[in-house]
């Protein structure tokens, strides 16, 4: 089975977005719709051009070709998890957990280091960074950082 080129997929998504944009401008007054609708039409035309060029010039480049996908995925999921844990446990605890876990995970290639030292580095890094910036923002910049639903 032939693989679908990511350029084709991207251009189709853009075409859909541009059509939604144009449709969303219905019901607005002329002065409010003229700019977004014009840009929407230009976006649609450029996306069509992108689709045609992607079909003509098919290349086999992969979207995340030379990237460590596992690390990128963990980092991305980690960010979403960080956001959820801020809402639940508050900023300080969530930050200590996030920095600690990601620092520990990213050391997985460091074969020469013992498991104990990796954990120690992760714990120290997470506590120092989180606590110092928490104090700076909470007590110096007077930003009320979230305490979380369970906090």
């Amino acid at each position: 089975m032939q693989k679908v080129n990511y350029d084709i997929v991207t251009s189709i998504i853009f075409i859909i977005i541009s059509i939604i944009t144009i449709l969303e401008t219905r019901g607005l007054s002329k002065i409010s719709y003229i700019f977004p609708r014009t840009i929407g039409v230009i976006f649609l035309l450029l996306s069509f051009m992108y689709l045609i060029l992607s079909i003509i010039k098919r290349d086999n480049k992969k979207l995340f070709g030379n990237i460590d996908k596992q690390k990128v995925l963990i980092m991305s999921i980690g960010m979403i998890g960080y956001f959820i844990s801020i809402s639940l446990f508050g900023f300080l605890i969530a930050s200590i957990l996030y920095i600690g876990l990601i620092t520990w995970y990213l050391q997985k290639d460091q074969k020469e280091k013992s498991h104990k030292s990796k954990i120690l580095r992760a714990v120290l890094c997470s506590i120092i960074v989180s606590v110092s910036f928490f104090i700076l923002f909470q007590y110096v910049f007077l930003v009320p950082l979230p305490t979380g639903l369970l906090g």
Binding site: Y50, V72, I80, Y98, I99, F137
Partner: protein, 509 residues
Amino acid sequence: MFEVFPDIISSLIEPINILLLCVGVLAGIIVGALPGLTATMALALLLPFTFAMEADSSLITMGGLYIGGIYGGCISAILINTPGTPSAIATTFDGYPLAKKGKASHALITASISSGIGGVIGGLTLLFLTPVLAGWALNFGPPEYFWVALLGLAMIATLSAGSMLKGLIGGCIGLLLGTIGISPVGGESRFTFGFPELQSGLELIGILIAFFCIPEVISMIGNKAKSQKSLNKEKGIVKNLFFYIIKKPIFIIRSSFIGIITGIIPGAGGNVAALLSYDAAVRFSKDKKSFGKGKIEGVMAAETSNNAEVGGSLVPLLSLGIPGAPPAAIILGALMMQGITPGPNLMAEQPSLVYTFLVSFVIANVVMMIFGLMGSRYIGKVLSLPVYYLAPSIMFLTIIGAYAIRNNLLDVAMLIGFGLLAYVLKNAGFDPAPIVLGLILGPIAERGLAQSILMGEASGGIFTLFFTRPISVVLIILCFLSILLPLLGTIFKSKDKTEKEEDKIEMEA
């Protein structure tokens, strides 16, 4: 400038401002030296910290950080053959070969002196050109602002990294993101999808951090550390190199001029400036073959130009209110956080603030040169700072920064969402710069368009208003040229390539 001279002096001699200037330059050098962390990213990360500062302190720090960040890129370019920032790409051509020959100190000192001289020339141009351009821009009406915004966007889309089509699509995405919220003239709510928080539009600072920081942090976890060349301590080379450089005034002026002009053109950036200057240095040299093998002039050309570009890139922001480069977009964000709208009126309304920033900008270049001469060998040590500490810590800073702007968790969710989107788009070949600048320029262009339509309807001639005013005509021609010239260049290049390939096939046959 002379009327506000006492204000400038009193602001610049304040101990906190002196400290912030030095800290900004030093932090910029350190961040710039780390491959993967650009000057733009450093500025975006610093942005939330500046909201507690006075306007002058905030701008002084941002200016210092920008200058330091662009210079810092040369340290990793010389020591590990990896440009710390894209601006230092041309520094690797001769900087790394010099380091391989055991002359890393020569390369670093040359880079410091050249960057300092180029930066001061760029800063002086910024100081004297901004008031002239701002005065001229006071004649601009809504149609001119519409065309200026379109020109900026066209240039950014065509000159930024990647394909032109993708640049233009990126610009459209940015313009559409800029239309979210209340229409600037019509007053109607658009694309809010039921979220009242979106009525005021997307939070610019959060979007800046999302597009410029998150893709880079995610990308950096895949980078591998390279071995670093050792530094030999030699006596007297600073003096010798300083006199060697200043004895080449034409070389310095040419490189600085290329940098400044490239900086003023929206979208071109420090990497283009350094490459053009390097190319000019090779063309005008009698000893062309020695370039690329460790020639001092190669480092001089690249570093003078990329630091002169910094000053040039701020000219359109301070005179027209149009950011010409991603770092200028972040400085615009810093000004807006302080409740200041950049543009031609800024010079008339807040002359002491603008001149304080401009004078501090020149001083920051001298500070950068001193720090570079004294400490680049020590700053080079940070290159070994592991990614497993950096990546989560930077991500943490982006989150705390995005939250601190409005104390709103929705901004954090937007940061993560747009950051991941920016990462995917970047991998698909869509540079973040046109998207973000489209977001900033969109409301300027829309306001210009809507006001012009209303003016045209009142006077009975929309066409006359848009297409016959002299400044508008010049801007329209520049818009077309900025799109057509790169397009023609691509067509000729591909034609030339096809002809060469055909010749090769014929030869082989």
